[in-house]
């Protein structure tokens, strides 16, 4: 099913009618749809943000846009969760929901705190539907730099939010897992998908193509997940998204000790930026990553800036 059909199914009838006027091609380009209480509905694609009128016309004047009401949000939320918000308790606690098709919905509202921890969200006042684009083949340019003879390099993907690092990681996993004719055999890849972004699992089933030698632990905390995979699934490569805490680094070291290769991503702009973050700079100084790939938004999401050798910072490969 395509993106449009997936999304229309989970929106309240009013929003459904408005979005229905957008063509399939336009839908492919949308990155975000934002619904906020008493604010205009708006849609963001790679280039611009646009409001949308109650009759489905695009406009750049906020006053002309369709103003979302509370009911739009509560009904949309009900449909998104398959009428069962309780089943998504864990996800909502972290401020998001995953939809069939692997799209992510960010949530804001009144936070309920218990024992100093976020217990739940209620009175939801804003939704951000982030459309996940699967770009089959977007990892093609970096594949030659990741493969080394009979093995692969430990690889770190660095980019600011929204520049396609998860999309790149996903396609990298897919290609390495399937194997590339004449270049590389297929590897068993274990994915710890803490926020259901890489494989976009919906009720445990991956919604994205992540290759046929890939095992996914969905919704699992990275540290435990990496250990679980090491113990039970005998992966050759472990892939995780958005590392950053000290526990993550410790778990990565365990993965290395077990002889596995690691693919991961991190938020950041440049090597200098990473060095200012205490945990990450410690990781960089250990010179674990043999390839560090930088992405930017310069020519649209997923622009490949450069590839560095993490074991020798003087050396830029691309």
């Amino acid at each position: 099913m395509n993106i449009k059909n997936h999304l229309l199914q989970v929106c309240s009838p009013t929003i459904q009618n408005i979005l229905n006027t957008i063509s399939y091609q336009q839908f492919e380009k949308i990155e975000e749809i934002r619904i906020r209480v008493n604010q205009p509905l708006f849609i963001k694609n790679a280039k611009e943000e646009q409001f949308i009128t109650p009759y489905g016309k695009w406009t750049s004047y906020p006053t002309e846009g369709y103003i979302c009401v509370l009911e739009d949000i509560s009904l949309t939320l009900e449909l998104m969760s398959d009428y069962s918000l309780y089943a998504f308790e864990e996800e909502i606690k972290h401020g998001y929901l995953t939809l069939p098709g692997g799209h992510r919905v960010g949530l804001t509202g009144r936070v309920i705190i218990e024992n100093g921890q976020v217990k739940n969200l209620k009175y939801i006042n804003g939704l951000n539907i982030r459309i996940s684009h699967e770009k089959i083949g977007c990892a093609d340019p970096i594949i030659p730099y990741v493969i080394s003879g009979n093995s692969v390099y430990h690889t770190l993907i660095v980019s600011p939010p929204g520049c396609g690092k998860t999309t790149l990681l996903r396609d990298l996993i897919r290609q390495i897992s399937n194997g590339i004719p004449k270049q590389s055999k297929g590897y068993t890849v274990g994915v710890v998908d803490e926020r259901s972004e890489i494989a976009g699992c919906y009720q445990g089933l991956p919604q994205k193509n992540i290759g046929f030698r890939t095992d996914v632990l969905d919704g699992c905390p990275k540290v435990e997940g990496m250990m679980m995979l090491l113990r039970s699934m005998a992966p050759e490569i472990i892939a995780v998204d958005e590392i950053g805490s000290e526990e993550d680094i410790y778990a990565i070291e365990n993965v290395l000790n077990a002889g596995c290769k690691i693919f991961c991503t991190v938020h950041g702009n440049s090597i200098e930026d990473l060095k200012t973050k205490p945990v990450l700079s410690a990781l960089l100084h250990k010179k674990i990553f043999e390839r560090i790939i930088f992405l930017s938004h310069r020519c649209g999401p997923g622009t490949l800036e450069k590839i560095m050798d993490g074991t020798n910072w003087e050396r830029t490969i691309l």
């Binding site: 449909l79 969760s81 398959d82 009428y83 069962s84 089943a87 739940n120």
Partner: protein, 172 residues
Amino acid sequence: MIKIIGILLILISSALIGTYFLKRHLYYVEDLQMLYKGLTMLESEIYYSKSPLPIALEQIGIRLETNVRLFFIETTKELKKKTGKSISVIWEDIIKKNIEYTYLTSEEERLLVSFGKTLGYLDREMQIKNIMLIKSYLEEQIQQAINYKNQQAKLYQRLGILGGLLISIILF
């Protein structure tokens, strides 16, 4: 001869009326128990397996007997259509449409409808509390109905026969 046939007919029909009232009460108890069972299943589906409602309700519908299952089956069908209606609206419609096929009373109808208002909303704790509330009412109702059956309901049957006898004696 005709008199005898007439008397027999009156006796049989009045006995049947008595039995009908007894049976009706028994079916009512059975429906209450079935509803209780369904809600217990829903509780465990929500609490332990965290199944989404369309799946949970479908499973329950398959496993229940008597027409109470219609509530679950029909709601599942409607939810799967993804018409964009909210679940409380769908649930209320289904209850109102199907309550006549069961032996449940308007009191239960009212309770079920208000139960639907919070169905699926927010967290599991809230769902469980909500189910427990309606279950405790049902428990009480079942207990009362069973007591009633033991004391009163058999009376219907006897009254039926005796009433028939009375009519025949007066008539003939």
